[in-house]
């Protein structure tokens, strides 16, 4: 770990962290502000949803969510939060080392008296700090939104905490998987398409698994591993899947270190 790289990386990332955090806070407050209307018209809502095609309801998990309860509605909101978080973390993962190479500053950094382990660790910690800050904002805005719009309704605090806490583990998955992919492909020239691809791809995999039953691939996506409807319904994580998630993250991290240590930094042209 090298303090100056960490400081620089965090400084560069701060603007992006602020934008993502503000967007997420807005999303949570906006969705929750509609909750009183949804809850008041619960019967009407159910009737309307019943007219949707079953496949569509399955794709959005609407058949398992009870939008009239606070946690049911919050989990619906949190699905969108997850999607944003996935894209943010994937972007950071893909960009962590590749931006440096695409802009040819890797030569500058790696000709300094620092080891690659120090470089990677400092960059990772800076990115994780950014993600933790984003999560803090999500926590705070969730509590504010809920206290503003819950009215007289009660909810289980523990389940809410489980949902919120899943955020950072969920993001670490995308960060490390994005990073390992960026080291496996020859050169990432533009981070955004990769980040969007990984984030949306993982979401779609989980969404379609609701429509098409019995595919194993869905187990690999964090949207399934931290399935909001499962957490709300059981008041607990689906532990085997959470371990699978953590396992993939750890393997991706270890592989990234190995690949980066053995990497030939591409030269100009």
């Amino acid at each position: 770990m090298s303090a100056n790289i960490y400081r620089y990386e965090l400084h560069v990332r701060l603007k992006s962290v602020l934008i993502w955090s503000a967007a997420l806070a807005f999303l949570i407050l906006f969705f929750l502000s509609l909750f009183p209307a949804f809850a008041g018209q619960a019967a009407l809502m159910d009737e309307m949803l019943a007219r949707f095609p079953a496949e569509m309801r399955a794709a959005f998990n609407l058949d398992k969510m009870d939008l009239a309860t606070l946690l049911g509605y919050f989990s619906f909101t949190f699905l969108f939060v997850q999607l944003c978080m996935a894209i943010q973390a994937s972007n950071y993962g893909f960009g962590l080392l590749s931006i440096e190479e695409a802009e040819l500053t890797a030569d500058f950094l790696l000709s300094k008296p620092v080891s690659r382990i120090q470089v990677l660790t400092s960059k990772l910690l800076a990115a994780v700090t950014g993600l933790v800050l984003t999560n803090l904002v999500v926590w705070v805005s969730s509590f504010i939104a809920i206290s503003l719009f819950k009215g007289e309704r009660e909810y289980e605090l523990q389940t809410l905490l489980l949902l919120l806490f899943s955020g950072i583990i969920f993001q670490l998955f995308f960060l490390s998987v994005g990073m390992v992919i960026s080291l496996l492909v020859r050169r990432v020239r533009n981070v955004t398409p990769y980040g969007l691809g990984l984030g949306f791809g993982a979401y779609l995999l989980s969404a379609f698994s609701g429509v098409i039953k019995d595919i194993v691939l869905e187990l690999l996506t964090p949207f399934k591993q931290f399935d909001v409807t499962y957490i709300v319904a059981h008041g607990a994580y689906d532990m085997p899947l959470v371990w699978l998630n953590v396992g993939i993250t750890v393997v991706a991290l270890a592989a990234s270190y190995w690949l980066y240590l053995h990497r030939d930094i591409p030269a100009v042209s």
Partner: protein, 290 residues
């Protein structure tokens, strides 16, 4: 013992050749020129020495330490000026120099300002807005500000105007006078001749010659062109003459040896034009080809 010791260093990028079996040594306090055409493997060699890339075979040591295992330790005392200078988006010159200095123990502010002044570099400009030559200056200051004892310069003069080139050469000579060892890569023979004590010539990934700059010049071919009025081409058939080409009363040839013999032969002729010049680098390489 040599400061830089390279033995049988080989690098393949997949199947593509980088360098093959490169061996040489650079002594403390010398300016070693590394010349060769583009794509010969100059940058590959420097990038291997800085462990930006990993060798396929062979080994290299700097300060007696293996570059692949002691990289960070070695790089503490190395300055590197890459051939193309790109820096972080949106940074000002001063930010970058401070970031660079923060990697080395001690305070380098004073030296940074002195170097920036010598190279006439404006510290508050954004790096993105700088011209190629000015970016190069940022690279020069960045590579020198921590007073390294070994300098790697990869085509350092490209983009600098002649005045700046001279200032830069003076700077390098000053550093060298303080005992700094300089590894200077270039494809321009004349600048290497101006600055270096010894040169290594690399072609298609292999070292073709390592010699003292003086011996290289003495052994060197001169390019001679003679024009006469007579339609019959003049015959130069003395030892040391090669590559004779004659057309319309003009004779081109390469000559190696005592130039006086050519001059004596010329004095007997009635010539309309004569030129005797240094061969270009490419022409010297033709010599190493044979």
């Amino acid at each position: 013992m040599s400061i830089i010791e390279v033995s049988q260093l080989t690098k393949y990028y997949g199947k593509a050749r980088g360098i093959v079996d490169v061996s040489f040594g650079v002594e403390k306090g010398e300016i070693f020129g590394f010349i060769g055409p583009n794509g010969a493997g100059k940058s590959t060699t420097i990038r291997l020495l800085l462990s930006l890339i990993h060798p396929t075979g062979g080994k290299a040591t700097i300060f007696g330490k293996d570059v692949t295992t002691h990289g960070p330790e070695i790089r503490r005392d190395i300055g590197y000026l890459p051939s193309e200078v790109y820096y972080y988006e949106g940074m000002r010159v001063i930010d970058l120099l401070k970031y660079s200095a923060s990697f080395y123990p001690g305070d380098h502010t004073q030296r940074m300002h002195a170097l920036a002044e010598t190279m006439e570099l404006e510290l508050n400009r954004r790096i993105n807005d700088l011209s190629y030559g000015n970016k190069k200056k940022v690279g020069i200051v960045q590579g020198l500000l921590h007073s390294p004892s070994v300098l790697f310069l990869d085509e350092p003069t490209a983009g600098l105007d002649p005045l700046m080139q001279r200032k830069f050469f003076n700077l390098i000579r000053e550093e060298n006078a303080r005992g700094v060892t300089v590894f200077f890569s270039s494809h321009i023979l004349s600048e290497v001749q101006r600055l270096c004590n010894r040169v290594g010539i690399i072609r298609e990934g292999r070292i073709v010659e390592i010699s003292d700059i003086r011996t290289l010049q003495q052994n060197n071919y001169k390019k001679v062109r003679v024009s006469t009025d007579s339609t019959a081409p003049v015959v130069f058939d003395m030892p040391g003459v090669t590559h004779v080409q004659a057309e319309n009363g003009t004779v081109h040839f390469f000559f190696k040896g005592d130039i006086n013999t050519v001059l004596q032969r010329l004095s007997a002729l009635r010539v309309t034009d004569v030129s005797i010049e240094e061969p270009t680098l490419e022409e010297i390489f033709m010599h190493y080809y044979e």
